[in-house]
Amino acid sequence: MRIKAFLCFGAAVLVVLSTTFSADMPRALAAPQSWFDEYELLARVIMGEATGEPFLGMVAVGAVIINRTKHPEFPPTIAGVIYEPDAFESVTNGLIWSANPTDEMYRAAELALSGYDPTYGCTFFWNPYKPVSPWIWTRAIVTQIGNHVFAY
């Protein structure tokens, strides 16, 4: 009986320990390594924000991030824009590290980085079919590509 109780307690300890460590492990394994550059980061945000969107919609999301780096109201780097608190839902909820971007998403990131901008300089995008802050509707909408509207 004592052995069984000991085994049960040991199992409980193991479960707790594995829970504690497993919460960190996927993040550690998926975190950016030194060879990852902004291109990788951009492709991941495109995955997080524009999965299911047409190819041009993916490029447009990448272009908005690039446009923000050139605007005085946003951080000056791609990483700064992407990791700005609460700027992108997919960064906040970890979706950008949940899978790997597709070739199409990497290509969209390349095009955006090279200056291809189908939004003509927009710094905001959102899905008008989902609940958003009423403030966002005060921006000047330039176009809609797929399920996202793009605005200055």
Binding site: A12, Y120, V142
Partner: protein, 467 residues
Amino acid sequence: MRTRRERWLLWGLGVVTVLSLAFGLAQYKEARSARLRMQAAEQRALFNLVSYLENLEAGLAKARAASSTGQQITFLTSSWLNCQAARSELSLAGTDGVDLTGPRRFVATVGDFALVLSQKLARGETVTPDEWAELARLEEGVKELTGILARTAQASVGASRVARAAFQEIAKAFAGTPRGARDSLNYGFSEIDQVTQSIPMPVYDGPFSEKNLEARALARPGPLISEEQAKEIALGFLRPGETFQSVSVATIEGAIPSYLVTARRPDGSEVATTVAKQGGAVVMATDSTPRGAAAISLDEARERAMEFLRSKDFTGLEETGWRKRGEAANRVVFAYVPHTEVSTPDGNVKVRLYPDTVKVEVSLDTGAIVSFDQMNYLVSHGHPGRILRAPIVSPDEARRALKSDLQVESSEPRLCVIPILPTTEVMAWEFRVKNGNDTYLVYINAMTGKEQVVLQLIEDESGAMSV
């Protein structure tokens, strides 16, 4: 007397209780640790922000007080660097829904203005008394901002300490960012937002000045075209003759009102073409079809790109760079610029127009054109505001402005127009030079004889481009 079954049930219940408690405790510790890390990161950002702004204030003051140009440039450049750092920290300081648009723009503009002045001094130009006065006015704004944030930082830490002590006595289970600290932060940031909104922005010519932030319109707008015409133009551009499953047309507003024509194939891939409403020029186009392994050479791809450009009536374009793309390096993008001529006492001289770049991307599997972008060409080429005059500085005079130990590679410098800002361009002599193993393009202003821009050339098996 408990039965054996009851004893097992009790043991089981005990184990489940222990497991639940242990699990809950572990989760609580992790959540608490994460909240404290976040709070620490926010406070670090806030204190860093105050430090950078204090350095900025000191840098601006020293720049105004310094007598030598070299010292002024040093202080102005360090001010710009402190602004860049402050911009990054400003986005991390942690606020609950406080609009920081004003402070962000203010800090960015102060840095931009300082950099523009330092560049003027570096080119040998003079900073006017009005510009120094503007700098002094901005410095006062920075001082006010720094004071508010320093008080905010102190208040937030004080509130944090008091709130945590009280909190620890009441309930240890709810550790987090104390409300008092959060309120202090939000109050402080709301205050700086109001202050920065009341400071007028300087009128100057820099990347963040109003005129350079505005999207640019077509240089030569033509007559309006209809949606049907746009569809016809788009379908005949990248894949003429191809039949698509569906074609949709959307509109793009803004500086260049356009039609966005999207032609879809049954496999889900699409050709998206943007056509300007005024004149019907294709602004940009992409084909999203997945591409296979590279099967043609770089030179063959180059020829395909030129063929494509010729078929679109582009003449006299010169290739200025290329870069392979894709993990499999199965695409290559080429950059081209047009040229014009200016008359000089020695005859007409060809001028490269770098602001008017056109980009063509070729897939190396079949040689198909997969993207095209002439946005820069359409907003710059033939712009009525571009008036090209004969260079005042001769090639030999420009050569003498080069650093003496550089090895000049090109026999004759090339006359060109280079972009300085979206709305500013200058005429310059371009020298390809070597310094050790590194190659550079050095641009000497053809009107003033001063060194204007230095670019490093990166040439390897994946491309040739300047940075």
